[in-house]
């Protein structure tokens, strides 16, 4: 039985070697994405295009404008004393935020009266806007003189501390998600295509004429992709460590165990897709729709699940990458042991048994 399974696996590998473009697309893409995520993509807002309209012209006004620039987040692109120029600048997207200093600013401060700075910002990108507003509040709070209005208590100052990812680097946050993505896409799409290809070319009939049983065929077909996908995942971890300094804090053993569990689910998913699809085109589209998109959108990879509407949050429970992603982040970033993420593993296990069982039943029937 082992020999027959191995024979199928070797045949599969040979076939994979003959189609370098597909292999390249499947394995080049994750590497490109890793580099992109590591180097290019981040939510940390910097270089905010910023304008100052100073109606005041006193030293106090200049000081507050200066402290915005000195904070390092704001790049001054316009400085003037006419508010009307702001509209076209905002419309053309040349500035994202503007500070308007009222004419009475210097005098108010000198008299120690409360005064108000106007801060105009482009809200189209709500996330960036929220961050910019946060920066602006910090800057103003740091320059503003304080008065005690009552005889009551002093201010409360937060001492912030970030665990697991002290510099809040997005590479560190995204790498576990990327691993899940790579594994899901390669295993589902590659497996589905490999099985359907046989159907399409009619070689499935010749395989049926051999003494292979369904089970051996399935294992033989998936084994090469299991190896390739694990190789790709290990490669991604090494690259992440070398280039982006992402270390695995938890145990490598548990990381491998959870990964294998997830792989079983996604390979089973690929086989399931192959039993539904008759042509490679349909298999690819089904694979893409059922694995890549949900993994990208609904697993919490980029968009936090807790922010989704409740109905959608329920749907995320049928996305296997969701469980894997939580466990991965906990193992890689937080160094947590099984006592923390066991429920995710159980979720994957149930999923795996269901998917593989269904896939075997369907394959046996179709053979």
């Amino acid at each position: 039985m082992v020999r027959r399974t191995l024979a199928i696996a070797i045949k599969e590998l040979l076939q994979l070697r003959r189609d370098p473009r597909t292999t390249l697309a499947l394995f080049g893409m994750p590497i490109v994405m890793l580099l992109l995520y590591g180097y290019a993509l981040s939510f940390d807002v910097q270089h905010i295009r910023f304008a100052v309209v100073d109606h005041d012209g006193t030293r106090a006004g200049r000081e507050v404008a200066d402290s915005f620039v000195r904070s390092g987040y704001f790049d001054l692109v316009f400085h003037g004393n006419d508010v009307r120029v702001l509209d076209p600048l905002f419309d053309a997207g040349r500035i994202q935020a503007a500070l308007v200093i009222p004419a009475t600013y210097g005098a108010d401060l000198a008299a120690r009266r409360a005064t108000t700075l106007q801060f105009v910002l482009d809200g189209s990108d709500s996330q960036t806007a929220t961050t910019i507003l946060g920066y602006a509040r910090q800057v103003v709070a740091s320059v503003s003189p304080k008065v005690r209005t009552g005889t009551r208590d002093a201010a409360v100052a937060p001492v912030p501390l970030v665990w697991y990812n002290p510099d809040l680097s997005s590479a560190r946050f995204l790498v576990p998600g990327l691993l899940a993505f790579i594994l899901m896409v390669t295993s589902v799409i590659a497996t589905a295509l490999a099985v359907v290809r046989e159907k399409e070319r009619g070689t499935m009939e010749s395989l049926r004429a051999t003494p292979l049983v369904a089970f051996e065929l399935l294992i033989g077909k998936t084994l090469p992709y299991l190896l390739l996908a694990s190789g790709a995942a290990a490669g991604a971890l090494v690259i992440a460590r070398l280039l982006f300094d992402v270390h695995v804090r938890g145990s490598l053993f548990w990381l491998a165990a959870v990964t294998l569990l997830f792989l079983a689910v996604s390979l089973g998913w690929g086989i399931l897709v192959s039993t539904v699809a008759e042509t490679q085109q349909v298999a690819f589209q089904l694979g893409l729709l059922s694995s890549m998109l949900p993994t990208f959108i609904l697993s919490g990879f980029i968009f936090p699940i807790s922010s989704m509407p409740p109905a959608l949050q329920v749907i995320t429970h049928v996305v296997p990458a969701r469980y894997f992603l939580v466990a991965l982040r906990e193992i890689i970033l937080k160094g947590a042991g099984p006592e923390v993420w066991w429920n995710q593993a159980v979720g994957l296990l149930i999923y795996g048994v269901a998917v593989l069982g269904l896939a075997t039943i369907r394959t046996v029937r179709s053979l």
């Binding site: 807002v45 005690r148 998109l293």
Partner: protein, 364 residues
């Protein structure tokens, strides 16, 4: 002209005959849009908070109340010691943990600034950062209420999207994404299908010039793109209630140069791929994903390092996103958006020219 019309009709007939094409054309974009529209929200609502009050005085309870009653936080755990934070943060039951140290009230009534500690879960960088920002706001309000008033106040005015709804920003972008996926993939596959089936040879012996062949192949998919716009737009406007402040005609007009680019890219992919499968993989992985990531769709371009910022200038979707968001949210027209339109036009011509060159070489 007649020959051109013939190939157009042939192409449309072929589209009609494919039974799977109609659901792909009409259902897939709407499903994608609805799913993405709901899921692709970056608003962090109600960050999970764990509280450890070591002071247990009226003042500390007041601070905790401020967090509990704020719309930004959901208190998921109250613990007695900081050690108990670890499992909560590890399992994601809490994203931010607040500690009020013993002696908090004493410090405050002595007039010294009292400190509270906030621990954020950086593994979920987005929730972590925003959680800290929310906490700072809550604490600032607490200070003001307690009688410490900063002299300078900030009055924010938010333009274009006053309620800061991320959907208003993301959903028009998805429209651009869908147009790209549909027109580019379908064009690439339609051309490759002819070579795969061997019918390309038959077309070559007809009196069609390569130029006519290309136009005949592209125009039906340009129509498909326009149909997409009309299918998806009602969902954008009436389901997601994204305001369309500019003119619909401007939007439609500026979609044309964008489609020139996506159709050209589709043709270009068809010259690289030998089979439909390769065409799909190439367009999905080599063209669509990087464009999606480098266009400013989800990740702001200004946050990228200089090299990648330079690369984004080669991404058509980048310009179209500015157009979409400009027309939808800012209500601007051609007078503001002409540089983007021009860039798309030039790029579209260049891509089409290049694709045509390669296409001809492959035919000859």
């Amino acid at each position: 002209m007649r020959t051109l019309l013939n190939i157009l009709i042939k192409e449309l007939l072929q589209l009609k005959r494919d039974p799977k094409i109609l659901p792909i054309l009409f259902m897939a974009p709407v499903i994608q849009l609805t799913l993405l529209g709901y899921a692709a929200t970056t608003d962090i609502k109600r960050v999970e908070l764990a509280v450890c009050d070591l002071d247990r005085t009226a003042a500390s309870r007041q601070v905790v109340d401020r967090f509990t009653s704020s719309k930004y936080f959901r208190v998921t755990a109250t613990v007695d010691s900081q050690e108990q934070f670890t499992p909560l943060l590890q399992s994601g039951k809490a994203r931010v943990a607040l500690t009020i140290p013993a002696g908090f009230e004493a410090e405050r009534s002595a007039g010294r600034p009292a400190r509270v500690q906030l621990v954020a879960d950086g593994a979920d960088a987005m929730s972590g950062t925003i959680g800290l920002a929310y906490a700072a706001t809550v604490l600032q309000d607490a200070s003001v209420a307690a009688g410490t008033l900063p002299l300078v106040n900030l009055r924010p005015t938010v333009l274009y999207n006053p309620d800061l709804v991320s959907r208003n920003y993301m959903v028009p972008g998805i429209l651009g994404l869908i147009i790209m996926i549909m027109t580019m993939m379908l064009t690439a596959m339609a051309v490759v299908r002819e070579s795969e089936l061997g019918t390309m040879e038959q077309l070559l012996v007809t009196p069609l010039t390569p130029g006519q062949l290309i136009v005949g192949k592209l125009v039906p998919y340009a129509l498909v793109g326009l149909v997409e716009v009309f299918t998806v737009l009602p969902v954008v406007l009436f389901w997601f209630k994204v305001p369309l402040r500019g003119s619909f005609l401007t939007l439609l007009l500026l979609t044309l140069p964008y489609m020139l680019c996506t159709l050209g890219l589709g043709l270009f992919i068809s010259t690289l791929a030998q089979t439909q499968q390769q065409a799909m993989m190439l367009s999905a992985f080599v063209f669509i994903l990087p464009q999606m990531l480098l266009s400013g769709f989800a990740f702001p371009i200004q946050n990228m390092p200089a090299f990648f910022r330079a690369v984004t200038y080669l991404v058509p979707l980048r310009y179209y996103l500015v157009i979409l968001r400009g027309v939808f949210l800012k209500g601007v027209g051609l007078s503001v958006l002409w540089p983007q339109a021009l860039a798309l036009l030039v790029m579209g011509m260049a891509i089409l020219g290049l694709a045509r060159l390669r296409f001809r070489r492959r035919l000859g």
